[in-house]
């Protein structure tokens, strides 16, 4: 419960994070040497998982810059710390870039020539344009994230709008490149938004878990009113995610065009059917119902519990995107799960969390008290309370 500067509070956790990151990174490196193909495929999953958290934090930070809600002010340093990891995730793309042939079927010319639909995209889904597009998006996002987080005391609505535009455009082409192109015949225009809404929920969930954890170590913790607001934002994010996921699925199901419905069929067979139901129940239904209740939203610790669930389900969703599509072509990697699929996300996660903590260490305070003066002013206006409950 002791106060103190962020640097002192975070010294212990940082050291633990560094050790965990080092151990897991060594394990992943060993795996990469022993089973390169399994490593590259696992790395795609790890990278998508933490990219989603980082970009989600960046996007929510942009929204805060644009609408300037009180909810955002209470966790702004955390959002900024998450957004600042964007360049780290850009660097983490490099291992994937080195192993494209182990991951994506479009690297196989024979596979691409075997179907007119694929022939049509062969020039688009090729290593050089793929890398150029990815690099453009990642570099642009990194620069914008850096500019946006440079001065934590300022609001930059124009820059935030530009960042959001870059994010949506980049995640649309990125969604096709990084995820959908695992099965080149699949094309669905809502996919960028499906990713973005998931990112928003995951980024916010990560910040809420972090805030609750920091709230026990550093003063002041998140106030009940702000926790309530943040809970509502998480509720909105979860509902948006469900909205896009559901409408996309419904339209594919109703129109029943083979090149699209095949993708969903793979995810409704065997184990994946269970995972699909888990996503519905735990990424949407459970958080939705829990977040309707004030007793959940007003306690940062309980809110963090719901957020942790959303965060875990974000990881499950990434697996749901990637794993059923793995090795769907002759000469591709073996389909199925390897031990690296568990270790690589943990390794990148340890690096990610350590980076967030390291960046927070330089923040003037971990959880700024929301501007009480402004609220007092509003309350002391003549007349009855002006705010609605």
């Amino acid at each position: 419960m002791s106060g103190g500067t962020p640097a002192r509070v975070l010294r212990g956790p940082l050291r633990a994070g560094l050790v965990a990151a080092a151990v897991l990174a060594i394990a992943t490196a060993v795996g990469a040497v022993l089973a390169p193909s399994a490593f590259f495929n696992a790395w795609l999953m790890a990278w998508l998982l933490w990219l989603g958290v980082a970009l989600g934090g960046l996007a929510i930070l942009c929204v805060h810059h644009l609408v300037h809600g009180r909810w955002g002010r209470s966790v702004r340093p955390l959002l900024e710390a998450v957004a600042r990891t964007t360049p780290l995730l850009a660097v983490a793309f490099v291992p994937l870039a080195l192993g494209l042939a182990h991951v994506y079927p479009w690297t196989d010319d024979a596979f691409m020539a075997s179907d007119p639909l694929r022939v049509h995209k062969a020039a688009y889904l090729a290593a050089t344009p793929f890398l150029l597009r990815s690099a453009a998006a990642l570099v642009l996002w990194s620069v914008l994230a850096w500019l946006l987080t440079r001065d934590p005391s300022r609001l930059r609505p124009g820059l935030a709008a530009a960042t959001l535009i870059a994010y949506f455009l980049g995640i649309t082409t990125g969604g096709v490149d990084w995820v959908l192109s695992l099965e080149p015949s699949m094309s669905t225009s809502a996919f960028g938004l499906a990713l973005a809404t998931g990112h928003g929920a995951a980024g916010l969930a990560f910040v809420l878990v972090l805030a609750a954890w920091l709230g026990r170590r550093a003063r002041p913790p998140v106030e009940a009113d702000r926790a309530h607001d943040l809970g509502n934002v998480l509720l909105a994010a979860v509902m948006l995610w469900a909205y896009i996921a559901f409408t996309q699925m419904l339209l594919v199901w109703a129109a029943d065009i083979p090149r699209q419905s095949g993708w969903y069929l793979e995810r409704s067979e065997g184990l994946w059917n269970g995972v699909s139901w888990a996503l519905i129940a735990l990424h949407f239904a459970a958080p939705f119902l829990l977040l309707l209740f004030r007793v959940v939203k007003r306690r940062p610790a309980r809110l963090a519990g719901v957020a942790a669930l959303v965060l875990v389900l974000h990881a499950v969703e990434v697996a749901w995107f990637v794993l059923p599509s793995r090795g769907r072509w002759a000469g591709g990697p073996a389909p199925g799960f390897t031990w690296l699929d568990a270790v690589a996300p943990l390794a990148l996660g340890a690096v990610f969390v350590t980076a967030v903590l390291a960046s927070l260490r330089r923040a003037p305070e971990l959880l700024p008290r929301t501007v009480v003066a402004a609220e007092l002013d509003a309350a002391s206006l003549p007349g009855p309370e002006v705010t609605r409950g």
Partner: protein, 468 residues
């Protein structure tokens, strides 16, 4: 690039009302503007013009009931004409009201209070206009009740997988909930009108005010209920245009089957809805002399939301082209080609210019705050959004999969007379609304202004700390 300090409050309520008003004077302002002692000639003239238009609608509908949809320019393959395009357009316009009321209520945006009543009325009338079209388009409109699941003698039920049945559920729910939301907010203001009026007027307002007397417990329930309705209306408003988009997107037709359609339609609805709100509010606030409570700041805020939704619409156009190409489907590809440089290209680029081009002007704060340019932009966007729906409905149907499914569509006189008739019907209802119903939520405006202090010659000992 603007930069502001993060620690300053930006949305203090007081800045949204000009002219040093207090609770008494905002009441006088709104109630006086709404029910003036004498009927204004300009109002009467506009009422007569729009009433003539309602007559046109009446005749068109009568003729339709006699001759059925053959009087319109529709034909196989283009079996949906401007009736459906107008349906989508009207429903879209009907989104802004609930969006302003419900979403901005949940987001605690104080500026909604000056325009929510007006926008909600617009919503109701626009949805009423929209709701006409699917019924008129049924082919046998007198059997519209077959859509309702009632125990008929045939023993058959509606097909619940059909978007037409979804439409019925979505639109009737939306109309009902919008009406409840609007009316619940209106009750305290009707009580104000009752208390200020005499004679028959007081009786009529009194009936609709349900005996509201501002009891604190009633207020507490009212506010909880209002907030609940806001929370319900927010997902509802999203669902309605989503269901409208399903009418198209469940099909396999190129240009219709897009998984992006639901959010893209919703954004388009918000965009055109805000455009219509501004088109109406800009002249109305002058005409009703309400510039103190509907300020340039309100126009600015609404224009910012228009810009945001306009950008999503632009994203939708870009996705349509990109994913049309990326799908690799030959019919999709030929539609993309037609839009970019073929048969439908003139229309497509007009739509892009009007909707995306107009939005770009809204980046400028000066444009957002100057009345005439903003008004012109909203008109362009209204037209652009109507054309967009024309392109989606007719452009795709004209195209199809095979050479044999290509067709042409030309709207007939009755197509246009029905559309113009609904425009007049909408205007007619809006005119009645501004004349008889408080166009601004007075009870909510009072939350933003100081109370009217009573004159008290000897200052009495006040405050709870004084004991008798």
């Amino acid at each position: 690039m603007s930069a502001a300090r993060d620690d300053l409050p930006r949305d203090d309520d007081a800045r949204w009302v000009r002219g040093g008003h207090d609770m008494g004077s905002v009441t006088d302002l709104v109630a006086g503007a709404v029910a003036p002692a004498r009927t204004r000639k300009s109002w009467l003239l506009m009422l007569l013009v729009t009433f003539a238009g309602v007559g046109v609608l009446f005749v068109s509908v009568l003729w339709l009931f006699s001759e059925y949809v053959g009087i319109w320019g529709i034909e196989i393959p283009v079996a949906w004409g401007i009736a459906i395009a107008s349906f989508v357009w009207w429903i879209g316009i009907g989104h802004a009201g609930t969006l302003i009321s419900a979403v901005l209520l949940l987001a605690k945006q104080p500026w909604r209070r000056s325009i929510n009543r007006f926008a909600e009325a617009m919503t109701l009338f626009a949805v009423a206009c929209a709701g006409l079209y699917p019924i008129l388009h049924l082919g046998r409109p007198e059997h519209f009740y077959w859509l309702v699941p009632y125990p008929s003698t045939y023993g058959a039920w509606p097909q619940f997988g059909s978007p037409l049945v979804w439409d019925l559920f979505a639109i009737s729910t939306y109309l009902t909930v919008s009406l409840l939301f609007w009316y619940l907010g209106l009750i305290p203001d009707l009580a104000t009108m009752r208390d200020r009026a005499t004679g028959l007027k007081a009786k009529v307002y009194g009936v609709f005010a349900l005996g509201w007397r501002g009891d604190a417990r009633h207020w507490a329930r009212h506010q909880r209920g209002y907030l609940m309705l806001g929370g319900l209306a927010t997902p509802l408003v999203v669902s309605v245009h989503t269901v409208v988009s399903f009418d198209f997107a469940v099909a396999q037709l190129p240009g219709w089957h897009m998984t992006m359609f639901p959010p893209y339609f919703v954004a388009g609805a918000i965009y055109s809805g805000f455009a219509m709100v501004l088109t109406l509010v800009i002249p109305a606030r002058r005409w009703l002399r309400l510039t103190d409570v509907i300020t340039d700041d309100h126009l600015d805020a609404a224009a910012k939301l228009m810009l945001a939704s306009g950008l999503i619409v632009a994203y939708g156009y870009a996705s349509e082209i990109f994913f049309g190409w990326y799908s690799g489907d030959p019919s999709e590809l030929s539609l993309v080609h037609s839009h970019l440089a073929g048969h439908s290209a003139p229309l497509f680029w007009t739509v892009v210019t009007l909707n995306v081009g107009s939005a770009m002007f809204l980046w400028s704060r000066r444009v957002r705050r100057s009345v005439v340019p903003l008004f012109v932009l909203t008109l362009l966007i209204n037209v652009g959004m109507w054309l967009e729906r024309y392109l989606i409905v007719i452009g795709s149907l004209e195209h199809g999969f095979l050479p044999s499914t290509k067709g042409e569509y030309t709207a007939t006189f009755w197509d246009w007379s029905t559309f113009l008739g609904t425009l007049a019907f909408f205007g007619f209802l809006m005119l009645l609304f501004v004349r008889f119903v408080p166009a601004v939520a007075m009870a909510e405006l009072r939350e933003m202004v100081p109370p009217r202090r009573a004159l008290r010659p000897p200052p009495p000992p006040a405050g709870p700390e004084v004991t008798p």
